[in-house]
Amino acid sequence: METKPLTGRFREDGRAVSLKEYHAAGGYDGLMMALSMHPDNVQKRVQDARLRGRGGAGFPTGLKWSFVPRTPGDKYFIVNADEMEPGTFKDRELMERDPHQVIEGAAIGAYAIGAHTAYIFIRGEYRYAEKCLQQALDEAYLQGILGKRVMGRDYALDIHLHLSGGRYICGEETALLNALEGKRPIPRAKPPFPQVAGLFGQPTVVNNLETVCNLPHIMRLGPEWYLSLSRCEDGGTKLYGVSGPVNRPGLWELQLGTTAREILEIQAGGMRPGHELRAFQPGGASTDFLLPEHLDVPLDFDSVMAVGSRLGTGCLIVLDRQTCPVKMVLNLETFFARESCGWCTPCRDGLPYTETVLRDLVAGRGCHEDLELLQEMIQWMAPGNTFCALAPGAMAPLQSALRYFREDFERYAGKGDG
């Protein structure tokens, strides 16, 4: 429990931790502690713990909170449980197996920014996770953990679940706000940032679900303990996952900064017999490929960045030598093209275009010029050139694939020339 705070309570049988069990393992002590502190001090504690957001961008959580104005008025805290990044399956586990941890974390976050309403935004496919959370919420209300007087203190909080209608873009925090408001989930222009004017025009913080699950423990055991969990500058553990042709695909809570080699070879038991590692995406579909030579890179935010990728969601996707990397990229781009919200041109029309070019390539209709075209597309959809980060994320695997697997692309490229 002290080294695996997020998953330490998980039951062997996979069922959700009950409120009784949760209490027995120190549950809601963190919230109690937070409620006894001034919200500013809660924020300070989280800043000191150097918790960085687990939603993909790694933004320091305490710092994000500090942008919320201290003025009175409605504020909202939102837990982002949209988890639609392909290859990612961490938030679901947290919801299904320890729902009270989510609620406690959300309550701490809400208290820290002075919000009296919180929403948990769950992707629509996660019906079972929703059920677990709803049950936990009902228990929490019944026990006076939520409601007009949270844990008997002079603080009111309501937490609502919202089931999304689908689409990857809904996870982007400003699109999520529009989705919750009942508008089309198109990202918003910034400034103003959500912390200043977010949901229903009020100051709002959006945090990833895993991020939120860290909060009770930081409250309870303190920043120093939290920092000691990790192997890097930033604090805490991280849920790492592996999918693809490995012996034991799965999800583990490990020290932040664990190397890819330890995760792949020890936790996941190495490649399946007859499969050889060609490359891996360190944190979901929108992260650049890394090669076997990067296996010893610690998977923390800064180290992964230094080798040209992103930690992302920390869920690794493994590519073996038998599988065609061009086809894998085609699969990825098909996803991104389908999920574009349709707001900005490069993403809406550029991604289907990318998909078409790749499809032509693998169908033997490609030409050499297509590789230049793909290279250009990476520029069209470079960060800053599109309205939000969806398309740049889509370009990450393409760009690294073109660099690392050039010969595979070349092999296809000749076919349509004649």
Binding site: G87, F89, E125, R127, G166
Partner: protein, 160 residues
Amino acid sequence: MSTSSLTPDEITAIRKALDTYLWPEAAAVDALYIVQQRHGWVDDAKLEAVAGVLGLSPAYLDSLATFYPLLHRKPVGRKVIRYCDSVSCWLMGSDRLAASLRERLGIGEGETTSDGAYTLLPHPCLGACHQAPVAMVADRLLTGLDPADPDTLLEEGDGN
């Protein structure tokens, strides 16, 4: 606008959803789910009825409904099979799974079997990548599927 195509229960449930939010638009997806739960999809009459309860224009509501892939604006089979076609499942053979499902059901993607039993849809990552390939039948997640064996999937899917 007539609300007669909704049951009193549905109307009550929609009104309750309204309490969760600051304004009616925000309850739109909840409301459409409520209707879809019973009928499998949302037809024009029900969409207009829901719009009436929420006080929104049907066009506004349809603008949302058509954005979201989990809301059906066309009829679907009694069971919707959503096999994951995203990267991890693809690596583990979702292509072959899809092909065997198509063959077994005799339909293409997006189509419904003639007996109205199944609709087959490709679906983005279902968040169970370590158990790939996976599919969702009705609201049930089925994992660790054998790409060559569509029947187990159909049987398990029937097990609700």
